[in-house]
């Protein structure tokens, strides 16, 4: 370990690149197979079989879909504003993936005498003997998710089509209002934790075999955050921006080929992000039995919890019908925001006396 580059050991760079690659590839695979899982789960819930033809029980379906989308013709509408039209899928996709930089997916593992925390934007300080991560992790995620709205708004506007514009306008109004509600809902968690660093929030939930989870201390906040996040990423029952029955396909009506696939990937990556964030804030992150003895169990627990929440998302999609637009706005502004504010006040009062 003698080699040093710019004052940091070689191992630091190898660990960083490895963490980024592993997390990125894992999220990509999850996104690909989430589409398969969704079709399969909804199929079985509706007493159908779902995809069956491609491979054993349709296991190769995501690959077939990907190949199909790659080879489709690329169409740019003649009246579209080209730059915004081309850049919109990228703006939607990048914030969806970039948020994984701050989510801790495991404890500290030791490779060849060098300690690596399983969180991309973190390092282990040997002198201080503790993990340092970005200390405004949650704000970083909120900031990035607030950028995702541009992709959808621009896609709607640049397509120069009525359906797309309607979808884009709906999306922006919905995302802004639910971003606010989701942000207010998790403030009560920070009032309990006293920190914005996700690493410390996970550490605070490690005691009493799962009973220290913020889910049990802040059930209302957990419930509201999950629902508001579903609305913010336009999942059913809040998928009004792409309501098929009214708007054809909403903001991505005019998109074809890989650009359409990018919006699709962004939607599923956002779902993975929301589930990972809910796991970290409310379900104890990577905590679980025996993680102290076997650090590699941390990621396993984390993935299990995230997949469970993704199953809940698909379950909701199979169960609930779509909201009407005015009902959605009513729910966001007149129910969730006041309840979140009351929750903050109640948490403050209880925190003052206890």
């Amino acid at each position: 370990m003698g080699i040093e580059i710019l004052g940091l050991p070689m191992m630091y760079y190898i660990a960083m690149v490895a963490k980024v690659l592993v997390a990125f590839v894992f999220v990509l695979l999850t996104v690909a197979y989430a589409t398969y899982a969704e079709r399969k789960i909804i199929g079985h819930m509706q007493v159908r079989l779902g995809p069956m033809r491609t491979g054993w029980h349709g296991l190769l379906q995501p690959i077939a879909d990907g190949v199909k989308l790659f080879f489709k013709e690329e169409i740019i509408p003649s009246q579209a504003s080209t730059f915004a039209f081309l850049v919109a899928p990228l703006i939607a996709l990048i914030p969806a993936f970039i948020t994984f930089a701050v989510i801790p997916f495991g404890g500290v593992i030791e490779v060849a005498g060098y300690k690596i925390p399983l969180q991309i934007a973190a390092y282990y300080d040997t002198a201080a003997g503790q993990v340092y991560d970005i200390n405004v992790g949650v704000l970083y995620i909120l900031a990035m998710s607030s950028l995702g709205v541009y992709g959808i708004v621009l896609a709607g506007w640049a397509s120069n089509s009525k359906y797309s514009l309607m979808g884009g306008l709906r999306a922006s109004a919905q995302m802004i209002s639910y971003e606010l509600a989701a942000g207010l809902a998790i403030i009560s968690v920070f009032m309990l934790s006293g920190t914005l660093s996700l690493n410390k929030i996970v550490a605070l939930q490690s005691g009493f075999g799962g009973f220290e989870w913020y889910l049990f201390k802040q059930p209302l906040a957990a419930f509201m955050f999950f629902i508001c996040s579903l609305a913010e990423i336009n999942r059913t029952p809040f998928d009004l921006p792409e309501a098929e029955t009214e708007l054809v396909s909403g903001f991505c009506t005019e998109y074809s080929s890989m650009k359409y696939a990018m919006f699709f990937m962004a939607e599923y990556a956002n779902m993975v992000t929301v589930c990972a964030l809910t796991t970290t804030l409310f379900l104890g992150g990577w905590n679980g039995p025996l993680t102290a003895a076997f650090p590699l169990l941390g990621p396993v627990y984390f993935i299990a919890k995230v997949y469970f929440l993704m199953f809940v998302c698909m379950w909701i999609r199979a169960t609930l019908p779509r909201y009407r637009y005015d009902q959605l706005m009513h729910l966001g502004w007149k129910v969730f925001i006041p309840v979140a504010l009351v929750n903050i006040v109640v948490t403050g009062i209880i925190g003052y006396f206890v």
Partner: protein, 167 residues
């Protein structure tokens, strides 16, 4: 390393700032402005102020610019590419020159203040940037904070009165 990073970010910031004023399409201008805000947020991170960076992205890039883009979209400003707008070139040149002289004078004549106060980079790293801002805001700067809150409340009430037809 940090200098190289600074130079790259500055390059992007200057290019996108130039694009803000030269783009023909207002939406593209708005996009460039978002990019500039993003570069500013990166500067805050380099100055050990991560909270400011997050707020910069959330408030300016995430909220204010969304409203701007919204307005541009709803007004549906389509630009005639053939039409050239000359914004009084000579006049703006004179103003630009005097602004430059002014800024250069300030830069060269001013000294870095010697008294730095209790806040150093090490202290910010130890206590945390968010904690320091919160503590100052709710103790020493409570009155300005409250006045700002009242201002925001007045703005909200005004917006409701303007938007509602019947109250």
């Amino acid at each position: 390393m940090e200098t190289l990073f600074f130079l790259i970010i500055t390059f992007v910031a200057i290019i996108s700032a130039i694009l803000v004023v030269t783009c023909k399409n207002p939406i593209n201008s708005a996009l460039s402005l978002i990019m500039t805000f993003f570069c500013l947020a990166t500067y805050y991170v380099m100055l050990d102020a991560p909270f400011m960076a997050a707020v910069q992205v959330m408030v300016y890039a995430g909220a204010i610019m969304v409203l701007m883009v919204f307005t541009i979209m709803l007004l549906n400003i389509r630009v005639d590419a053939s039409k050239k707008h000359s914004h009084k070139v000579v006049f703006s040149l004179i103003i630009g020159f005097f602004t430059f002289v002014n800024l250069a004078y300030v830069l060269f004549k001013s000294r870095v203040a010697v008294a730095t106060g209790p806040y150093s980079a090490d202290m910010i790293k130890q206590v945390g940037h968010t904690e320091l801002i919160g503590k100052e805001m709710f103790t020493n700067f409570l009155l300005p904070f409250e006045i700002t809150s009242i201002l925001l409340l007045v703005a909200i009430v005004g917006a409701v009165i303007l938007a509602k037809k019947k109250i």
